[in-house]
Symmetry: C2
């Protein structure tokens, strides 16, 4: 294990995609519908043997700190930091950089997600290892792309430049272009070209390389990092977060830095990766029952198939329905067309705006 | 009010069509989803001013007697009779005939249903009045047909003979033929012909006329009536029912008597009548909400319309779904295609056969 290697796990999810099973107070990273433990616990555990828990930071929402400590008991309590308000990834990464730098000015850190699934852990470790080496050697900002297995329209894509180089377990390319979620025809073209990768939201960089890029392309972020650095690892951190965070703009690291920086390198990840982005992802992870439905809990049907049902505390009965998502949780029943699963977020927003459903959101 | 006039309300429903809101212990006649009181209470109340409560008998399942007394408090407790097991309409009508005859050998009685809706009560009364007059004058078995407003495939039909005669508020025809639920094309032909009526399951006859018809065409039913007659109105009734009922065949009055008798007259009912035969019937009785769904309780939707939702104790959330029936009741959630509502009975049977769902059936 490289003693300079750290992980910053971003765990601030809002719990909208898996609503009503996920809610604001129990977002996706706490769910274990996929796999046998909460996604966040899996995210920590899969670093085992590669980054020691004392080098793992988890940045979450302040109100989730206690629950996060329970789910990740091996991570030192002081390494689990609560943001008083959500300010997207730029602020969280500046905070993470400060936390790492306070511990090790020569630190290198992997920005990882709390609610994705990764298969082939040894290959994942070897990929991160190679990323770390490239990040140190070239001072590069390394972003991890995933070799796409399907023309998925739920992901953003990264276009790799031609050529590239091999380092350790991974092949690296110049990141030529980041593109938003495409339509199906475009996604098919991307996959067929062989030059597009899924944008995983994972990064690897050295504190030094990141800070230099910030100073050049996003000086406000560098200044923010320096403010956090003064209090990182001290008892003044919480107070500083409470003062600083509310005034920050909500901005992602992609917009704040990556779109401007010129030393971005994409690692072509070939380990299995799934962002478990909506209810329909469960079809990949639960076994289809004899009646053709994907069921967690108690469901009985007649002439019904292709449905995804989560019903752990009551019976769900289906008659003559296909391709629905039916979820019983948090005292709510969701009935959703499988092809509209991405719109659940909109419904949650609508309910939030009505004011009277806060306890189930 | 004609003092010889009685009503026998058949209230032995099994609660399968409106499952899971209706259950075996709370069948449809106890529901008030349509109208502002339980259907059975409405069935009793609509006789007000026409047949006094003391002349109203209700035949129900033994386990529902207590609940029936609560819902129909004006009907004397002794007039509410529980069958120890269900044996279809032939047995219940023979029992009803015995109860009426024990009170009034010159009695005339209307066999009425407990879980249908009827509009225009004065016209309903005048129709029953005319039926009673025809039943007494001609010794006829009068069955009430309903002039169809749509080619409904959920009803059986009665073909009226040509000609007929007018008596009081109704026109009467020879009942030429009873037909089972037709397909849509056939139902359309029926309605277009003007000679077919919905089979309402209501009858009017004198005790004397009915007994004579039984003696000639269904002597086993006449014998049954005579056995009941000996104990009707006495404390020995319950014991006799417990002895006699379990041995009776399950047979409807249509098969046992009506198909054989030759003095059946159909009254052409023109009052509004609805058997509220499945969840989809609610569309006629609840106001469609601004979002295009028919809702009782708490439902919020996005891009969802034409759904029928009953959700009184929890929130039902819809995303991108159309023409579903979603019902939350009895600790169960039903999600049913609107066009499959008739199959709910089959699902209930399937659940019953599994043995582990009895408390929600």
């Amino acid at each position: 294990m490289n003693p300079h290697l750290f992980a910053v796990i971003l765990a601030g999810g809002k719990g909208e995609r898996f609503w009503p099973l996920s809610t604001s107070s129990r977002p996706k990273q706490f769910l274990s519908v996929v796999g046998n433990k909460p996604l966040l616990a899996a995210a920590v555990d899969r670093l085992g043997g590669f980054i020691p828990p004392r080098n793992v930071f988890i940045i979450t929402r302040a109100e989730l700190v206690a629950a996060t400590r329970k789910v990740a008991p091996k991570v030192p309590a002081a390494n689990i930091i609560g943001e008083p308000v959500g300010r997207d990834t730029a602020a969280a990464i500046a905070l993470g950089a400060a936390l790492v730098k306070a511990r090790d000015p020569r630190g290198i850190f992997c920005v990882l997600t709390a609610d994705h699934l990764i298969g082939d852990i040894p290959l994942f470790h070897r990929t991160l290892q190679a990323c770390a080496e490239v990040a140190v050697r070239d001072g590069a900002l390394v972003t991890i792309g995933i070799k796409p297995s399907t023309p998925d329209t739920g992901y953003g894509y990264i276009e790799a430049g031609r050529g590239g180089f091999k380092k350790g377990a991974a092949r690296f390319f110049k990141a030529k272009r980041f593109v938003e979620k495409p339509d199906l025809a475009t996604a098919r073209k991307y996959v067929a070209s062989g030059r597009f990768y899924w944008n995983s939201g994972m990064f690897v960089w050295s504190v030094d390389g990141l800070e230099k890029a910030m100073l050049r392309h996003a000086p406000e972020l560098a200044a923010l990092m320096q403010r956090f650095e003064k209090v990182a690892g001290t008892s003044r951190l919480a107070g500083a977060l409470n003062r600083i965070y509310p005034k920050l703009p909500k901005i992602s690291i992609d917009y704040a830095l990556m779109e401007k920086a010129d030393n971005i390198v994409m690692a072509g990840g070939v380990f299995k990766w799934d962002d478990v982005g909506s209810w329909t992802a469960l079809e990949q992870h639960i076994r289809k029952g004899a009646d053709g439905n994907f069921v967690i809990g108690d469901c009985r049907g007649l002439a019904s198939s292709g449905n995804i049902v989560v019903s752990e505390k009551r019976l769900t009965a289906l008659v003559g329905v296909r391709d629905l998502v039916v979820v019983q949780a948090s005292g709510v029943t969701l009935v959703c067309n499988k092809h509209s699963a991405q719109d659940i977020k909109k419904l949650v927003e609508k309910l939030r705006s009505l004011g009277k459903y806060d306890e189930v959101l």
